[in-house]
Symmetry: C2
Subunit: 332 residues, 2 copies
Amino acid sequence: MTSGSIRADGQTDILLLSGGGGGARLAAGLHAATGGEHFSVVTNTGDDFEHLGLMICPDTDSVLYALSQQIDPVRGWGREGESWQVFDELTQLGGPDWFQLGDKDLALHLIRAALLAEGRSLSEVTAILARRLGVASAASIMPATEDRVRTRVMTSQGEMAFQEYFVKHRCEPQLTAVRYEGIAAAKPSPSLVGLLAGAASRSIDVVLGPSNPFLSLAPILDLPGMADLLRERARRVIAVSPIVAGQALKGPAAKIMSELGLSVSAAGWMEWMADRYPELIDVWVWDERDHALADATRIAHPNIVVTDTIMSDRERAQQFAEWILGVSGDGD
Amino acid sequence: MTSGSIRADGQTDILLLSGGGGGARLAAGLHAATGGEHFSVVTNTGDDFEHLGLMICPDTDSVLYALSQQIDPVRGWGREGESWQVFDELTQLGGPDWFQLGDKDLALHLIRAALLAEGRSLSEVTAILARRLGVASAASIMPATEDRVRTRVMTSQGEMAFQEYFVKHRCEPQLTAVRYEGIAAAKPSPSLVGLLAGAASRSIDVVLGPSNPFLSLAPILDLPGMADLLRERARRVIAVSPIVAGQALKGPAAKIMSELGLSVSAAGWMEWMADRYPELIDVWVWDERDHALADATRIAHPNIVVTDTIMSDRERAQQFAEWILGVSGDGD
C-alpha cells in the first residue's frame, strides 16, 4: 500500500484542513510525523464567535493546543490541567455560563484580544500564539480566512448561531440546513494563498481531516476560490472519513447526515463530498472497519484506501499520520 | 459640632463623588451609616481603560467591591480572597503583565463586556453589577459620565495614559499637567442628572471623598455643567481633605501637589479646590492632625471642621461617615 512516501523526495508540503476534535488529533499526529517541517494546518473559522467581549476561535485553539501538546486528552478540547476560577465566579455572578471557559484557555483569549486590538491580523495573532504556546518548529497554523465567516444552522427550533446549536442546545434541534454567513465576500487568508502560490518549486499534498463536513470543512472549502486553488496547486487531495462503521467518533456529523437525508456511512460522506466538490479529492481514506463497504464501493470509486483511522491517543495519531504520509493513493 | 444631623429630617439624599482608595472606603462607611437609603456614589471614569479587549473601570469597581464588602482590605483594591490563575498563565504566555488582574476581578470585567456588547449603557451595567455583587439596599453607584473621558498626564517622560503613569510607571515620572481627553464633549451621566433633578422634594448633600483632586475628582467636576448642577441642587457640598499632616494616605496626591508647585497640606489642597471650583464647597473637612493649621486658616475660611478622618478599617470608616452625616458645617 505504501508504494512511495509523499515525503520521500523531501519536496512535498503537507497542508491539513481541520476543524477541532479529530482534525486537531490528526494535526498533532502529522506534526509529530513530519517534525513540523513543511507542515501547515488551515483551521475552520466558521465556529469563531464573540463572547464576553473576546474573540473565541475554538477550532484554531484546539489545533494550537494539540500541536503544543497541551490539549486535554480526555475532553478533546481546552487545556490539560485546566482550572475554573474565573468561570466559577462568572457563574456565581450570574454571567453567561453556557460556554465553559477555563482559566488557561481564557488567558489565550485575552492575549488574542490584546493583539487584535493592536491591529494585528488573525493570521499574525495565530502565529504569535503558536510561538508563545511553544509549538515546535516551523509548522504554521493559519485561519482559513481573515474575513468574518459565521456558521449558522437552520433547525426545527429556528435559525441559530453555530455555538448556540452546538454548545447551548447540544446539537439537539433537528438540522435542516447550514449557511456560512459572510462567506460570499470572504477571501482565503493571505498566508494560505501565499503558501500555495509561493511554493512553486514544491508540491503540496492536501489532507482533509476527519472533521465534520458541514460544520468544519465546508466553511473552509466554500470560501470563494478556495476549492479551485486547491485543485490547481495540490499534487493530490486526501480526505479522511469522519464516519466509521456508520457512526461519528465524536460530534454531530452522523446525526446531521441522517437529518439531511444522507446515508450515514463512509459512502454517504464520500458521495456528499464528491458531489459538492467535484474533482477535488484524489484519495478517500476510510476506516478498516468499513472494508467490506469499501470493497463494494471501490468498483465505482477506485481511490478508496482503508486503514485504522481511530486516533485513540497521540501514538495512534502519529502512526495514522505516518500512514497518510505513505499512502500511495492507488487503492489497495 | 453635630448640632443637627443631615439625615434628621429623613429628607436628605447623600451623594458621594469618589475615586478608588479613600473614596471607596468612605463609600463603604456612608453605605453602612445610611443603611444605603437615599445614598448614591458617583464614580470617576477618567481611569477607565481598554485592556485585553475588556473595559476596565478601576474606581467604579473599587466602589462596587467596597459596598459589597468584597474589597481586599489589605491591598485596598480588587477582591478579597483573590486567585491569579489566568494572570499567571497570561504572564507565562508573554501577555501584557503590567496590570494585575485577579480571577474574580476578571469575571466582573467579562460580565461587563458581555453586558456592554448587548448594548447596555455603562450606568445600566454598573447597576446590574452592583445587584449581582449583592450590594444591599437601594444604594446606587453611577459612573460620572457615559461618554469616554480619559485622564492623560504630561510628565517628564512625555504624555501618557493615566494607567500607564499610575501602574506601569508607578507614578515615578514628574507630572507637569493633567488633561481629561474627551471631557469637553462629555455630559454628566443621565442617571446622575436624573437623581439631581428628580428629587425636587428632597435636599441633597454632596460629599467630595478624600480622593485625588487631579486624578479622581477633577474628571468628575470638570464635566461640562457638573459643577453648576451641584451648586444649584446641593444643599451643601462637603469636601474631605486627602492630605493629612502634609501627606497623602495613599497614592500620588502629595507628590503631584509638590510637582505642580502647590503647598503640600490641607490648606494647599483647599486653595486649589476653592480656586478651581469657586463657590462650590461649603464645608471643608480636615484631619484633626492638622488642627493647628486649621485654626490658623479658619480666619479666612471659617468653614473648616476637623476630625479623625483616617479610615483604617470598616468600623472607622463608618464612624467617620456618621460624623459626616452629623457635621453642622458651622465651623467649630
